[in-house]
């Protein structure tokens, strides 16, 4: 598979994101060191304490600053102690056009998976998580090649369609969820996407899969910045203070 992105650039981006993640953990580490000790005799409860529903603010913003993107995404998660069942659903469409042709696609996607919270002692219930997702997309795409000529083989002009193509992939996720005010939460999710498979049958190879991104790479990174509204289900047990 052709790797369009220079290896050094991809490595630098990956290192930058990982550094950001590690910097964030140090901020939480200070809070964790001053948090209270949980009574070792308290029983673990796996009953959900709340449901968070939100949207990806980056997707919404991209509709305004990107001429080639149109889409939205809604996210939801529910906690089972430190484990969170997360579901995403979205729609995106891309339109590209150059002097020698154009490309467009449109489709819906969903992701489902589990996140594991590593800030179980935070009284604000801020969250740093690592998780996984399974993603699936259904989309259609169209491409035109116009006015292109090869010096040996002649005209390359062509129009191609892919209809109702299905793609699926896997993700490793990490991110933050931070309580901003009462029921409003914000956070980011970094996604390492891999294992893409599509079922096209025609002459056209999918170029962009909604929810995944460019298909010319064996793996790719994605980022979301989400705003959530948390609906409490039951009172969240507060860890007791440490006896001095």
């Amino acid at each position: 598979m052709l790797n369009f992105q220079p290896l050094q650039t991809l490595q630098l981006k990956s290192i930058n994101i990982l550094l950001l993640v590690f910097c964030s953990t140090f901020v939480f580490a200070q809070n964790d060191s001053s948090s209270t000790k949980i009574d070792s005799l308290e029983k673990k409860s796996y009953k959900p304490t709340g449901i968070r529903i939100g949207t990806d603010a980056l997707s919404i913003a991209r509709n305004f600053y990107s001429k080639t993107f149109n889409g939205w995404e809604v996210n939801a998660d529910v906690d089972f102690n430190r484990f969170f069942l997360a579901v995403d659903y979205g729609h995106w469409a891309r339109t590209y056009g150059g002097d020698n042709g154009d490309y467009d696609n449109s489709g819906n996607y969903f992701r489902a998976g589990v996140d594991v919270n590593f800030l179980t002692k935070d009284p604000e219930q801020n969250m740093f998580f690592i998780g996984g997702r399974y993603g699936q997309s259904t989309f259609s795409e169209h491409m035109r090649i116009v006015g292109v000529e090869d010096e040996i083989w002649g005209s390359l002009d062509k129009e191609l369609y892919n209809t109702n193509v299905r793609g699926h992939w896997f993700e490793l996720t990490t991110g933050l969820r931070v309580k901003m005010w009462k029921y409003i939460w914000m956070g980011y999710t970094a996604r390492f996407k891999f294992g893409l498979s599509t079922n096209e049958t025609g002459e056209m190879v999918p170029s962009d899969v909604p929810g995944y991104g460019r298909t010319d790479k064996e793996s790719t990174w994605g980022f979301n910045y989400q705003i959530f509204f948390r609906i409490p289900v039951r009172k969240t047990p507060v860890p007791p203070a440490t006896k001095k």
């Binding site: 491409m143 090649i145 040996i152 002649g154 901003m180 170029s207």
Partner: protein
Amino acid sequence: MRKTSWFIAFIILAASCLDDPDCFQLNNNFLGISFHVMGSTVADTLKATEISFSGTSAITADTATSISLPLNYTATGTDIFFTRSDGSKDTLKLSYSTKIQYVSDDCGSRYILSDLNVASHSFDSIRLVNTTPTKSGGTNIAIYRCPKVGMVGLTLQQLYITGTATQSATTRSTIFNSVTADFSGENFYVDQTASTLYLPVNLTQEFSTYTFDFADDFGLADSVRKLRLTYRIFEVERYKQCGNQKFIDSLKIDFANAATTFDTASIALDSDDDRLEALQDPAVVNVKLMRCPETNLTQVVFRRPGTTTATAVHIKSITTNYSSDIYYAGDTTSTVKLPLNPSASVNSTQFIVTYTEADRAADTISVSYTTTLDTLFPGCGPQVIYSDLVNLLEGGDTDVLITNDVKFPAVTNIAVEVN
């Protein structure tokens, strides 16, 4: 915490912008072909005067052991037509699947070829190595041809003495007037320089004779040498696709009755030290033709008094006390190679050097030495080995620099001081 979150949000926004891909070599539409001969590990050379393709009027030509040819990525197959330098033609018909993928506004789209298949061909044999065409390099198809044995390889070597008992042989580039295959009268290597030759053998009789006419001193005095090879010709079906073919083995060099007049010759050895008595395709070096070392050459250098730097002199003539030959007549040089008396029973030689300048007196070089007969190279027989050079005119203008061995190639034994 909240400020950190906003900071990270902006960083993510910036990082979320995708880099544009490079637009270099997007398509994998090149077919790599390597050429081989059945039964040989040596790569075969395609000498194609024309290579053409279906779907285009473009043609190319190449002489190589492997080539990379473009496939038509606007179709699902390409026919390739080869025309060789000997006029023979071959066809290769290929099929493959072609898919298109949009890359970017700048790059446009790329073509992805896969599932390469050989639909038909006219070569002796083909092996599909890799079904995915490449962007450049790599091999998809190996083409094999039936061996056609009929060429013998010969290499010319100079034997050397580098010490009292140290011998070596090195390949020597030699100038030819011509090499004639006596059975056909055909001339090869006319006015050419070569160190390795490939000559056809007589396929109608189990011997071949060649006449080598040298333009340099490889042939020594008479410049012509003859070589007679004998061998066995037999027919066998070694490869099914090739049917019955003639092969040649049991190669021998015939020295009887002066049929071979090189100083010495031998059958070459392979990497396992086995004699290469069978002719191969592609041809390999089967025979080594060797020139025995001249063991009596002493090198004389001319230099200014009190210096070690050589200086050129204008020589009128150099003569010896044992023959009427004249050496270096009319030459301007700083070093000369002079032959000591070749007789093993004589232990001294004298050279007279005269100069073109009328006011420059002649110089006499007189040396004595020890001679022993030794067989350093079996093919060369006993040769006179010279050692322990002594200047018989000590105190004069000559000085013996190295008193021991006279070697080949010659080393500087004597220095003559000239004003």
